[in-house]
Amino acid sequence: MESNKTKRTNLFKRLLAMPGFRSFISALACILIGLLIGYIVLLIINPEQAGNGISTILKNFMTRNSEKLRMKSFGNTLVKTAPLILCSLSILFAYKAGLFNIGAAGQYVLGAGASLYCALALNMPWYVCLLAAVLAGALLGAISGAFKAYLNVNEVISCIMLNWISLYAVNSVLKDLCPIGYKDTFTLASRNPSAILPKLGLDGLFGNTSVTIAIPIAIIIAVYIWVILAKTKFGYEIKATGYNRNAAKYCGMREKQNIILTMVIAGALAGLASALLFLSDFSQWDINQSSIPAMGFNGIAASFLGGLHPIGAIFSSYFIQHITDGGASLDTRFYPVQIADLISAIIIYLCGFVLFIKLKMLKASGSIPQKRPDMSADIKPASENKKGGER
């Protein structure tokens, strides 16, 4: 008969053998270490306020005074979570094919430009604006994808270049769509209320006019992406291409076409992300901005923190947005608001070690598979199998 102790260790080993559990534990470790370092930074800057500071970051809307304000503030965080979910989906989708879509930021920018131009200059209804943003993002993704597939240009570098090109282009296209003397574009409510996303009563629920169907859309798409990746032939081909581009080619998959298609979808997701934010009429485009919006980059944090799983991305996106908003309500007399960015950056950096942690856990579970592990579990895309000299 087994003693209780061995039963418990067996259970623990069984848990460790589950990929979902390993992802969860490693994400938790990244978050805790990230928060710990954030707390130490707060302590260094101002020891007396540090306890207050970290709880402000963690509590976010819960620090508001009344139930009504808390709901409204919660709604604001959700409004910004929706685009973040899509950005992180964009990045994880490309990552499954072994592509690092750092261009989500630029695709997001171009999507914002397209949707706002359709809304403010052409007076289109919301669904047209949404579609325009998706197409704009997809186009930009297609460029990076084609450069990668046919010209061997590293997608990271082409994406960064396109990020800046998009920023300058969008700033100049939206230049004439601002009230005179202002640097922000018109609100949709003042110029074209038909471009605002439908609310379906969600605004009443949160007491917040910016809460729209953006949030349910984001969640539905996350589930849909999960289905594509896990259950379809296309998803399988994408993962196979990511796992070993040459092997995929030998198996008769059209790997070039798949690379471009992956980037098109990734771009479309990032384009949709910005439409969900700007068509909620929550914030306006600042035509003077000289740095690329952080949303696309935070998407990287969210996708890796979520264990590169579409459903995980929903929760990790919320978490990242939660601490970012919490950081924004830090008392600026004591602390810079960028502490939250610092924490997310540390979390991303730590995510680089996740594979190492997961491998250790896998060893601890005593079930190192003889053959290579199941692709869908701990996917390690191309970098390891990357052909030398690839650019």
Binding site: V156, I157, L162, I165, I339, S383
Partner: protein, 316 residues
Amino acid sequence: MQQIMLLVQYTLVYASVLTLVALGGCYSERSGIINIGLEGIMVMGALGGALVLGHISPALPGIVIFLLTVLASMVFGMLFSLLLGVAAINFKADQTLAGTAMNMLGLALATVIVKALNIASSGGSNNSAEIAYTATREKLLLAKGTEFSMFMILTVIIIAAAYILLYKTRFGLRLMACGEHPQAANSVGISVSKMRYAGVLISGALGGIGGIVYITAGVSKANFEIGVAGFGFLALAVMIFGQWKPHKIALAALLFGVFRALANVNSGFDFLTALKLPQPVYNMLPYIISLIVLAFTSKSSHAPKAEGIPYDKSTR
């Protein structure tokens, strides 16, 4: 004529930045580590240099200010580059991910540090992310009223040194061997991880200097919320265009420098104003050019064969 002088000055400033950072990238990649984090390294190097420039007495001789600034930038850049070294060499992490995290981290960290210092020194009233250094910056210029600075002389020295170090010394040849075929290098007794650390640290030092040159170009205060506007990535494009060779990198940087400089001084040229191109086009130009250049040069790439692949002794 005056306009041409101005164009030459800015071209040389930006070419210096791109050369330094691209050489940094070159050393890292020659050792086998892809350094996407150059942007973050630049910001941190700029922070180190700006802290010296902002707090040192302008009464000191120019050369002392210069050396201290460069030293601080190098040290900051090298310390920050260790993040890449540890992740990529010891933990075999995804180098692209680590580099991207470093870019975000560098910007956030520099902003937090500068803001925290400003908040502390002003008692909470000043929470900007700016460091001003008007008087000390002037000391670094070779001639008042121009942009010719000691950094340009340093850049020329570094190009020569980089060439000699890479091709004419045992260290350089061993470094390159680790980027081409680490298994072979290791089998003759070269420590791949030491060489790769050396490559990453050199790239940290050069990227750091590049950062301080960038933020002192034409302005007398640095705002760390803005960062370095993608220059770390432009430098990577320069490096690829220069085929990972120091002398070609310098030439490629000059070409990119011209286009970047045009964004600053295009209004002074009659034939350019006649074209009536809007300013954003000039701002986009360096990025568009680098995309086109990459499209034509990446097909037959001379990249180090083993770059981006973590070295695993058991594969020998």
